[in-house]
């Protein structure tokens, strides 16, 4: 039973569709939901939650994710998804996401929306100030250490490989030694 749009309109147009007067339930063509993903673009992605690495298809239409579901071709999950993976749609479509750069001044009791440029410059300035003030060329044993112990960098397990590689490269180039992420906990 293939319900086409035309059939649907025909049905919607007339409630006079024939049905049994008597006692049985006649098989009737059902209404059809709009085929929401039929004309959408499919983009494959991998679930951002646990380490199983399930394949997910995001259906994209007009720059919006309109549906997400398990990738039936993916050998690990074969289309299956748990509750978390199944809710990916609400990550892409979520009112509460951070959409602006936020800044909280010392002692302030609220966020302030700021521009990227301003924030990045301020972060860089803070970074340099802290690094320069505490950079150690040698340790107590007079061994060369070239490190900055006053800045820590944590996290990265939710980043892509390329990002976390760049992050490690940056952290170590800055001289950080307090470098940790979720693998430890």
């Amino acid at each position: 039973m293939n319900i086409s749009r035309r059939n649907f309109l025909k049905l919607a147009g007339g409630t006079l569709a024939a049905a049994g007067v008597g006692t049985g339930i006649g098989v009737q063509p059902a209404f059809a939901l709009p085929k929401k993903v039929r004309y959408a673009q499919e983009v494959t992605t991998i679930c951002p939650y646990c380490g199983v690495g399930c394949g997910i298809i995001a259906h994209v239409s007009n720059g919006k994710v309109i549906n997400t579901e398990g990738d039936p071709d993916h050998p690990i999950n074969k289309g299956a998804l748990c509750s978390k993976g199944g809710s990916l749609y609400q990550i892409a479509n979520n009112d509460k996401r951070n959409k602006k750069v936020l800044y909280r001044a010392p002692g302030a009791d609220a966020w302030k929306e700021v521009e990227w440029d301003w924030a990045l410059d301020k972060i860089t300035a803070n970074l340099k100030k802290t690094r320069d003030a505490s950079f150690k060329l040698t340790n107590a044993n007079n061994e060369v250490v070239n490190r900055c112990e006053s800045i820590a960098a944590i996290g990265g397990a939710a980043l892509d490989n390329e990002e976390v590689y760049a992050l490690t490269k940056m952290n170590r180039a800055l001289g950080l030694v307090y470098v940790e992420h979720q693998a430890r906990i």
């Binding site: 409630t15 006079l16 024939a18 049905a19 049994g20 007067v21």
Partner: protein
């Protein structure tokens, strides 16, 4: 009043209004109910603006039916008390089914009319009570709700049939009757035939009353 000629007033205005509210709402409910019951009769809903609109029409019409029913129950119940000679009337087929001349004289309503009243009462109680349950079926135990749906329909079977009888006998079956519920007046011969005892009684209350009125 002379417009009525030699006519006898059998119903007053309130009675007629209540009757027609009752009759109208009942018929409307019956028709819309049939529209719900038979998907193939969904044109009824279409004429009335769709099944959703029809749902509310059915409910409000049912409300009118219920109110007018309660009023009419108290209005007519006294006149519809059975008496001993009603049995006789029934045994003779009320003079409708076969020609019998010596019917016991009827007061205001004959046994058939009384029976119709009481069947209406019984069915209406069932229909209204079940209808109330159906308004909020989820507030009641599911078994009760299911019985409500069944009884609502079951009572309609009975009531629907009797309404047809009532309409036939009130119109084509007994010419001259319908005016009782339209103008309130019927002819004297009609009265002599259908409610002789009541007529006699009436004349005794108001000697020549009818003529006065006329």
């Amino acid at each position: 009043m002379s417009a009525h000629g030699d006519m006898i007033k059998v119903t007053d205005g309130i009675e007629r209004v209540v009757h027609w509210i009752l009759a109208g709402s009942c018929l409307f409910c019956l028709i819309t109910g049939i529209g719900f019951m038979y998907h193939s009769w969904s044109f009824i809903a279409t004429f009335l603006g769709g099944p959703y609109a029809m749902k509310w029409m059915h409910i409000f019409s049912g409300l009118a039916f219920a109110v007018s029913f309660v009023y009419s129950f108290f209005m007519w119940k006294k006149d519809c008390q059975f008496e001993s000679q009603d049995l006789q009337w029934v045994l003779k087929g009320g003079g409708y089914l076969w020609n019998v001349k010596d019917l016991p004289p009827v007061y205001k309503y004959n046994a058939g009319q009384k029976a119709f009243f009481w069947i209406l009462v019984a069915c209406a109680i069932v229909i209204i009570a079940s209808g109330v349950v159906m308004l909020n079926p989820l507030y009641y135990p599911v078994v009760m709700a299911r019985f409500a749906y069944m009884l609502h329909a079951g009572a309609v079977v009975l009531l629907g049939a009797f309404i047809v009888v009532h309409i036939y006998l009130g119109t084509a079956g007994n010419p001259g009757t319908v005016s009782a519920m339209l103008t309130g007046y019927v002819s004297r011969p009609w009265c002599e035939t259908h409610c002789p005892r009541w007529l006699a009684d009436r004349d005794s209350w108001k000697p020549g009353g009818e003529k006065d009125v006329a």
